[in-house]
Amino acid sequence: MYRIFKFLYSYRAFILFIALELLAMILIYRFNSFQGSSFFHTSNRLTGNFYQSKADIQDYFELKEMNKDLLQENARLREELKAKELRLYLSERNKPEGFLPNIDIIEAKVINNTINHFANNYITLNKGKEDGVQEGMSVLGSNGIVGIVKSVSDHFSVVYSILNSKLMVSCRLNNSGDIATLRWDGQNYQISKLDFLPRHVTVHKGDTVSTSGFNAVFPEGSFVGVVESVTSSQGDMFLDIDVRLGTDFSQLNQAYIIRDFNKPELDSLQNKSMRND
């Protein structure tokens, strides 16, 4: 103990010097904000770099969770983007006669979907009467048409999938403008048949098919699918056309119910006219 004091005493000048300099430094940093903040700025740079390195190493151990989160976020953002694109697409449609579609879109999630019940498939959506859904409304997906609303409860609705032989959709070949009818034959959930297309019409594989807008069910020009094959037998009046559907029903998650405000008027007018014939 005594030795320590003796040692300290013999170096008292130097120790005093250091102590006084430290005191001076303390006074400087407390008194001058520039020096003080400069010091902390430097030390922040130092600690900042250290924490950056530490975080990089930690990130490496958390890669799995990060990947999962990113995938989920990607999927959600993609869906949002598709919804926005679809909205933009639908709102930009212009009928040649200047007839603008008067529609509203209700987004819904597919909570039940069947694709392999022979010929009668239905889709259940999580939107119902309280969301404005009514029977007969058309349902679109991000990549193509999905179906027509069959029945509605307060919070849910059941939709005729187009993979349902009871449903016939009036379609138009985009190239030539010819009208045909889309009807599912119960075989393949990716392929549907295009009926009633006369033999003289030139159809090629790869032609796109869209809805015609007749019957005021689907908005005109909604994408249906792409022609997969064209065959014709000798005695047939019509071509046998396979259409690969745009919508992938095995992965259907999100659907958009279209509310066409012109439909009731059109329906009543057409029914009245046809009945009187």
Binding site: R12, A13, L16, L20, L27, R30, F31, S38
Partner: protein, 170 residues
């Protein structure tokens, strides 16, 4: 005549007063500042013990800081100079060594010796002061210019002071 430590105290105090009253505003060419109070520290006896020397430097520094509003910068510079002065005096010992308790001024070795003794210490003092003030090497050349010009200016002023005092003590 006043002798011994009282003389030194008087010198230091009068230099401080001069510094604060006049020297503070005496700036040449926007880069030569004046800190003549350092002369008071330089003229302390050669064999002053370390601890009192450092403490004197500390108190002189505090007084300057109070007037200059610079926090602890003058303290740092003055204490540093006092610490170095001890060893520096050993280095620049003139032939024949120092007399007992002599005060390092023009009597020892004339102006040439005084230049060799005081100018480096003044430069060191100003360097510590100005670099602490700028804190960093951003304005390095400008700070260096300040250091050099201020050192020269301070030295010339202290030389003038010494000549004045020499005449009066004769």
């Amino acid at each position: 005549m006043i002798k011994g430590p009282v003389l030194h105290i008087v010198i230091i105090i009068s230099l401080l007063i001069f510094q604060v009253a006049i020297g503070q505003n005496l700036i040449l060419f926007n880069s030569a500042f004046c800190f003549v109070y350092i002369l008071g520290l330089l003229m302390l006896p050669v064999d002053l013990n370390d601890v009192p020397a450092l403490l004197i430097g500390f108190f002189v520094g505090i007084s300057m800081d109070l007037f200059y509003n610079t926090g602890g910068m003058h303290i740092a510079a003055a204490v540093f100079v006092m610490f170095i002065r001890r060893h520096w005096l050993n280095l620049v010992t003139p032939q024949g060594g120092y007399d007992m308790g002599v005060s390092p001024s023009l009597e020892i070795g004339g102006i040439i010796w005084f230049v060799g003794y005081a100018l480096p210490l003044i430069v060191v003092h100003h360097a510590v002061l100005f670099f602490l003030e700028s804190y960093g090497f951003n304005a390095f050349w400008f700070t260096l210019k300040k250091v050099l010009f201020s050192s020269i200016f301070t030295f010339v002023l202290s030389w003038i002071f010494l000549i004045l005092f020499k005449k009066s003590s004769r």
